[in-house]
């Protein structure tokens, strides 16, 4: 099992990112000389989203998300830039490690989907049973795998046993040993077209999904329910619900304000690439929306500490969300109309 004693170290540059999926995508692309920033990857991959699904519970709390399903950003970017991806899952645990070894031996940095609960280098308070984390394996020194985890400031290592364990974490969206790598990159790609496609799809997802749980409608839906939380759930549970919103908004990997600032950074980059100055204005508006999300978190923080009168605060928090929904609706109504000049 561990007889493989040779050392493999791919010349791979580690970059820290706010979010793992953007980060892995951006780092892998850079390795093949496609220089797209994390923000650019996020924008092309239509990464901004909102969903509120109170009937789905995770540890007794409603599922709230500020991003699309795991893997979507990577898939969309690959498609829009024209990159060929190889991806596979394994039933046989040992085999999944063997194939990983063979792949890095060929000099191919390889992405792995992992669970964070057993990720030994992660701070303990961040280790929940969350299974959609992404890391890049870029070498092996005896029993230690060299890992570029986009959340970390520098490369880290995992032993054979520990890597195997996180690749086979169990529970919701179990990674099942999934690994993926870039097979082929195009010599030329149309960045402008990719950006426009990304923005258009993102606008649709924020505005036009015909279910009120998603996009700006989802924000309003949550806001309306939020006003009733203290009455319906009681003080304790209501603050846990609110805590869940804040965690999804800020806990590791959103770059602040539920990805709104990353998206604003993307719009700024897009303005330059497309030479369309109005996108800078959109970026400023998106920053303002992000600032409002932060305001919301501050009010929530005061509620956690029991400083304000409860009913008033939940109303105030919900009102901010209503305002945010309006702002984001206006932004995406304009962005939806984007085209080449």
């Amino acid at each position: 099992m561990n007889e493989n004693k040779e050392e493999i170290r791919i010349d791979f540059q580690h970059y820290q990112a706010a979010h793992c999926e953007n980060g892995v995508t951006s780092s892998l692309l850079k390795h093949y000389n496609i220089n797209l920033s994390e923000a650019m990857v996020f924008g092309i991959g239509s990464g901004l989203f909102f969903s509120y699904m109170p009937f789905l519970k995770l540890n007794y709390l409603p599922v709230i998300s500020f991003r699309p399903l795991p893997g979507m950003i990577f898939r969309r970017v690959s498609k829009r830039i024209g990159i060929k991806i190889h991806s596979q899952k394994f039933k046989d645990h040992e085999k999944s490690m063997q194939v990983l070894d063979e792949t890095i031996k060929k000099g191919i940095p390889t992405g792995c989907r992992v669970g964070v609960y057993h990720l030994t280098y992660f701070p303990r308070p961040y280790r929940f049973h969350f299974n959609a984390h992404n890391i890049i394996v870029f070498g092996r020194e005896n029993d230690n795998y060299l890992i570029s985890d986009p959340i970390m400031e520098t490369p880290v290592t995992l032993t054979y046993k520990d890597l195997l364990r996180v690749r086979y974490a169990r529970g919701i969206s179990a990674p099942k040993g999934r690994m993926y790598y870039i097979e082929d990159v195009p010599e030329k790609y149309d960045l402008s077209k990719a950006i426009i496609k990304g923005i258009r799809q993102n606008s649709k997802h924020m505005l036009n999904i015909p279910v009120p749980l998603f996009g700006v409608k989802g924000i309003r839906y949550m806001a309306r329910r939020m006003k009733k939380w203290p009455d319906k759930l009681g003080e304790k549970k209501a603050s846990l619900y609110l805590g869940q919103v804040v965690r999804m908004l800020e806990e590791i990997g959103t770059g602040g304000a539920g990805f709104r600032f990353i998206y604003a950074a993307f719009l700024q980059e897009a303005a330059k690439v497309l030479n369309q100055d109005w996108l800078n204005e959109m970026s400023r508006k998106m920053t303002e929306a992000g600032d409002q999300w932060r305001e919301f978190a501050i009010i929530a923080g005061r509620i956690f500490k029991g400083r304000d009168s409860e009913e008033e605060s939940y109303n105030a928090a919900a009102e901010i969300l209503m305002d945010i929904a309006d702002r984001e609706e206006q932004i995406f109504r304009k962005l939806k109309k984007i085209s080449m000049k």
């Binding site: 820290q16 990112a17 706010a18 923000a39 540890n59 609960y117 057993h118 280098y121 992660f122 701070p123 303990r124 308070p125 961040y126 929940f128 049973h129 959340i151 970390m152 400031e153 169990r170 529970g171 179990a174 603050s239 846990l240 609110l242 805590g243 869940q244 804040v246 965690r247 908004l249 800020e250 806990e251 590791i252 990997g253 770059g255 602040g256 304000a257 600032f261 990353i262 604003a264 950074a265 700024q268 980059e269 970026s283 400023r284 920053t287 992000g290 600032d291 932060r294 978190a297 501050i298 929530a300 923080g301 956690f304 500490k305």
Partner: protein, 137 residues
């Protein structure tokens, strides 16, 4: 968010192992990235989530020490698992795990079963068997 407003409310949650990368605008309105060591509303929200877990662990620990449940229940809660997840990790059916939660049944378990549990919880067989280990936590 402006660069100068990036919060640095370090309350030890990242154990010095990492800093969050944040996006913010500089003096000229251009986006850049910088580190944050934490932000109070986020820190509080995280602590709240852990408080819920720790409370549940402590309740279960008391039940174990008073003989109502086997230590299996304690380690399950401590690892933030439920029956379903523990069953997935160990390969032991849920109804069997439920039985193993009874102290009498747990005492009679063979090492083969116990090993599946101890490996999942990342503890030694001796640690799992010895109920005294959870007396002073």
């Amino acid at each position: 968010m402006k660069k100068k407003d990036i919060p640095q409310d370090n309350e030890g949650l990242s154990e010095g192992k990492l800093r969050d990368l944040c996006y913010a605008v500089d003096e000229n309105g251009n986006y850049m990235t910088a580190y944050s060591t934490g932000w109070t509303p986020k820190n509080v929200a995280m602590k709240m989530a852990w408080d819920v877990i720790e409370k549940k662990v402590e309740e279960t620990r008391k039940k174990v020490l008073s003989g109502k449940l086997s230590q299996l229940a304690y380690y399950m809660e401590k690892n933030i698992m439920n029956l379903k997840l523990l069953s997935q990790y160990t390969g032991i059916p849920k109804r069997k795990i439920r039985k193993h939660m009874k102290p009498k049944v747990f005492e009679g378990l063979d090492d083969e079963n116990l090993k599946k549990y101890s490996q999942t919880f990342d503890i030694s067989l001796e640690e799992l068997k010895d109920i005294k280990r959870i007396e002073n936590t």
